[in-house]
């Protein structure tokens, strides 16, 4: 790891200190780091002079809690590493789409989100502007054969769901291959984050994935704070931690209800649908908005609680949690549920690591990986949450890990509402200094969120890179379906419950 610039989550460095290596040494460095147990958390490009692209990798050493930064300069082509390390396939496709860098030898070089290039380059996929309508223009993998049929779903789905296109190659009921084509939600969010003023950028961050407003909002605020060299006061850190866990609770409880709904187990589906609101409403008690929008601000939080408030809120949450415990128990004890969930949509540990899965999806396959423990930030530096894992990697495991996390987050929220430290909840944030770079990671309810912010010579964002956990995990869902029945797709999909907007940006 000699060629890396070492840093850690939320620690700003001088952007010029990141070593710029020749392509072969950059790739050797990545391979070595991965072989040593590291993970590529983010790999992204940015504009450089003389028509070249500056590619930077963030390598996470989860055991040591360290991050390594390294860069290289590439032209229109670059050897692909995706064959050897499939976890990189999405990043290389993104580089091709955003900067026209063709990864030579990439096994799956297809458009990622139908985004226009960030710089004037030749389209890596040979398309000409304006792009033809998607998904018609997507080279779907096809299985040929007399008895093979194809099922096409989306972008407009049956339920109230974000748009995406799913193409199944089936033999009877059995799915031989599922391909997921996204991009419908693309709003050019990274560009907006770079161009608009900070108050609006915060609102864009909160809407990157609307069910993760606190997760992405917090990653954004912590990035700005790190660049500016300030830290939120302890009381703000506590309230942020409480809000992040409430977001996890609301979504996990909702997911248990949705999984129950998809196996036709009405009691838990109905109860969890309503109980989810208890956690959303608790967030609204704190800041007025059920999704936590408007709570966070660089420097801290905009709202505080009195001792009476925290006691009443904690009491309400504890009663809600008891109802959740009861509903979850019914679900997991129901034989008809277990019949549908056990052994369905399996992702092996090996596949999980190859694809670089994160969050509950990874932990359900036995990968003990959690930013709150491995790269702790804010409150989590002082208060530890046990990481929940399961072994079987199936729908059951993904539901069970959620339940374990509900249990632990509920206890965490109760503890920290009672133990709020005294003091202010907001610190002033000066203007951002020039030429800095920071990686800001947060364990959102779907897994690792990573934002990378780099300032230019005027202290504005020269590049703002966003990685939502869904960026890794969509491929996990596609492969979990192999060999399954097409009718189990909704259930498998709910067990991942990934973000379209977070992927498409």
């Amino acid at each position: 790891m000699a060629d890396l610039l070492e840093t850690w989550n939320g620690e700003a460095v001088a952007a010029r200190d990141v070593p710029v290596l020749p392509v072969d040494r950059f790739q050797d460095g990545l391979c070595e780091a991965i072989a040593a147990g590291g993970r590529v958390s983010v790999l992204f490009g940015r504009r450089h002079e003389d028509n070249r692209v500056l590619v930077t990798a963030v390598v996470a050493d989860d055991r040591e809690g360290r991050l390594g930064l390294l860069s290289t300069l590439v032209g229109a082509r670059c050897p692909s590493l995706a064959e050897e390390f499939p976890a990189l396939q999405g990043f290389e496709r993104e580089l091709a789409e955003q900067f026209g860098v063709i990864p030579e030898g990439h096994p799956w070089l297809k458009p990622l989100r139908f985004e226009h290039a960030h710089i004037p380059v030749r389209d890596a996929f040979g398309r000409s502007e304006p792009f033809p309508d998607i998904p018609g223009d997507y080279p779907f993998f096809r299985v040929e054969g007399e008895e093979i049929h194809e099922v096409a779903v989306g972008p407009v789905h049956a339920g109230i769901i974000e748009p995406g296109h799913f193409r199944f190659q089936c033999h009877g009921e059995q799915v031989l291959h599922l391909e997921i084509s996204l991009g419908y939600q693309h709003r050019a969010a990274e560009k907006l984050l770079e161009e608009v003023a900070l108050p609006r950028a915060l609102r864009v961050a909160e809407s990157l994935a609307g069910d993760t407003s606190v997760g992405h909002g917090l990653a954004f605020c912590r990035a700005v704070e790190a660049l500016a060299g300030v830290e939120a006061p302890p009381r703000a850190s506590y309230l942020r931690g409480v809000a992040l866990e409430l977001e996890r609770l609301a979504n996990h409880v909702g997911d248990l209800g949705a999984i129950a709904g998809d196996v036709g187990f009405q009691p838990t589906a109905a109860a969890c649908g309503a109980l989810r609101a208890e956690f959303l409403n608790a967030t609204a008690e704190l800041c007025g908005n059920r999704f936590g929008r408007g709570l966070l601000v660089p420097g801290g939080v905009r709202f505080d609680l009195t001792a009476g408030d925290t006691a009443r809120l904690a009491g309400k949450l504890s009663r809600a949690f008891e109802r959740v415990r009861e509903s979850a128990g019914l679900l997991f004890r129901s034989p008809s549920t277990r019949n549908r969930t056990d052994g369905t949509g399996v992702v092996s540990r090996e596949l999980c690591d190859q694809l670089g899965l994160v969050g509950p999806a990874a932990r359900a396959s036995g990968a003990s990986r959690d930013v709150r423990r491995d790269h702790p930030f804010g409150l989590y530096r002082f208060a530890h949450l046990p990481v929940a894992t399961a072994e079987t990697g199936d729908v059951f495991a993904r539901a069970w890990v959620r339940w374990l996390e509900i249990e632990r987050s509920a206890a965490f929220v109760a503890d920290h509402l009672h133990g709020l430290p005294e003091g202010p909840v907001r610190a002033p944030v000066p203007a951002l200094p020039p030429g800095k770079m920071v990686v800001s990671m947060v364990e959102g309810w779907r897994g690792e969120i990573a934002h990378v912010a780099i300032t230019d010579r005027d202290g504005r964002f020269a590049r703002y890179k966003v990685k939502d956990p869904s960026f890794h995990n969509w491929m996990g869902l596609a492969l979990a379906l192999r060999g399954e029945q097409v009718s189990d797709f909704p259930l498998c999909n709910k067990s991942f419950n990934l973000s379209y907007a977070g992927h498409d940006l």
Binding site: H116, I134, P155, V156, A158, G159, I160, E162, P163, Y184, Q185, H186, R187, A188, A189, K191, L192, P199, R200, L202, R203, V204, E206, S207, A209, G210, D211, S213, P267, A270, A271, G273, A274, A277, N281, A284, E285, L286, C287, G288, N289, R290, F291, R293, G294, R302, F303, D304, L305, T306, G308, D309, R312, L313, R323, E326, L330, V425, A501, D504
Partner: protein, 274 residues
């Protein structure tokens, strides 16, 4: 089975008292804003500077107005105002029939008017809607989903979200309408049998919200389907399920009262801003 029934009994009735009874909102909920330009310090533009989406016109002047179609209800403008010229009430009734009515200049709730008699006869007791997310972040989508859960339960009034535009009486659009969803949105609209409604939910679908001006979005649904007007605007980021329900029920003429029926939850005090 007995366990399931016992759990069901302990859960009790979950459906809210609204619309016949009061809707319960937290003290800090930010609903319809009140604009009182008389309090402004001349030349002061603090509210506009704090606003992420430029939703405030003529700040510090007699004609000051707040456009709910762009407002994200974050409350930063009210925090920034030194004179109390902008405040947020707990009035959750925000939906309007026209874009112009979303522009707030004083302290008057502009409630959505009902459809005409013929349309009410068709849809008043059974309204089936097809939702199209066109760049929505899953905030508005989540709140639309919540309208069907056992708490808000809009199916009490015959309002349901259906799986196909062929079964629908209208479409509900969320998101700023990305270029990549434009064709799918138009095709969904075309596939819906006439007469049909178009309902825009959330700041993005009304104005583009925080994504307005992005080179790959269409700043909302107005104009995205050529020649098709929007029948109902439901502002918010995202709008609360009761705000959505109130808009739909007023559109159908199922809620007609003018008095604001709201009460607090009594959990957390209002003084939240440090």
């Amino acid at each position: 089975m007995i366990e399931i029934l016992k759990a069901r009994l302990r859960l009790g009735r979950q459906t809210v008292a609204w619309p016949d009874g009061p809707a319960r909102f937290p003290e800090r909920f930010r609903g319809r804003p009140v604009v009182d330009a008389a309090r402004c310090t001349p030349e002061c533009t603090a509210c506009l500077e704090a606003c992420a989406t430029g939703a405030i016109a003529s700040p510090g002047q007699a004609g000051m107005a707040l456009d709910l179609g762009r407002c994200l209800f974050c409350g930063e403008c009210a925090d920034a105002c030194p004179a109390g010229a902008l405040t947020f009430t707990r009035d959750f009734r925000l939906a309007t029939r026209t874009r112009e009515e979303l522009v707030v200049t004083g302290d008057e709730a502009k409630l959505a008017r009902a459809l005409d008699d013929r349309m009410r006869e068709l849809f008043g007791r059974s309204l089936r809607l097809r939702q199209v997310s066109a760049g929505g972040c899953n905030g508005c989508e989540a709140e639309l989903n919540a309208t069907s859960n056992i708490q808000f339960d809009l199916s009490r009034f015959g309002i349901q979200f259906v799986a196909s535009p062929r079964h629908a009486d209208g479409i509900v659009v969320t998101g700023p309408v990305t270029d990549n969803m434009l064709t799918a949105l138009r095709k969904t609209y075309e596939a819906t049998p006439a007469p049909k409604l178009v309902i825009a939910v959330g700041a993005c679908a009304i104005s583009g919200g925080p994504f307005a001006g992005s080179p790959v979005v269409n700043d909302g649904v107005a104009g995205a389907i050529p020649g098709v007007p929007v029948d109902l605007f439901i502002p918010g980021c995202p709008p609360h399920p009761i705000t959505i329900g109130d808009g739909l029920l007023r559109l159908l003429g199922r809620v007609t009262h003018d008095d604001l029926r709201v009460e607090g939850t009594g959990l957390v005090e209002a003084e939240g801003t440090p």
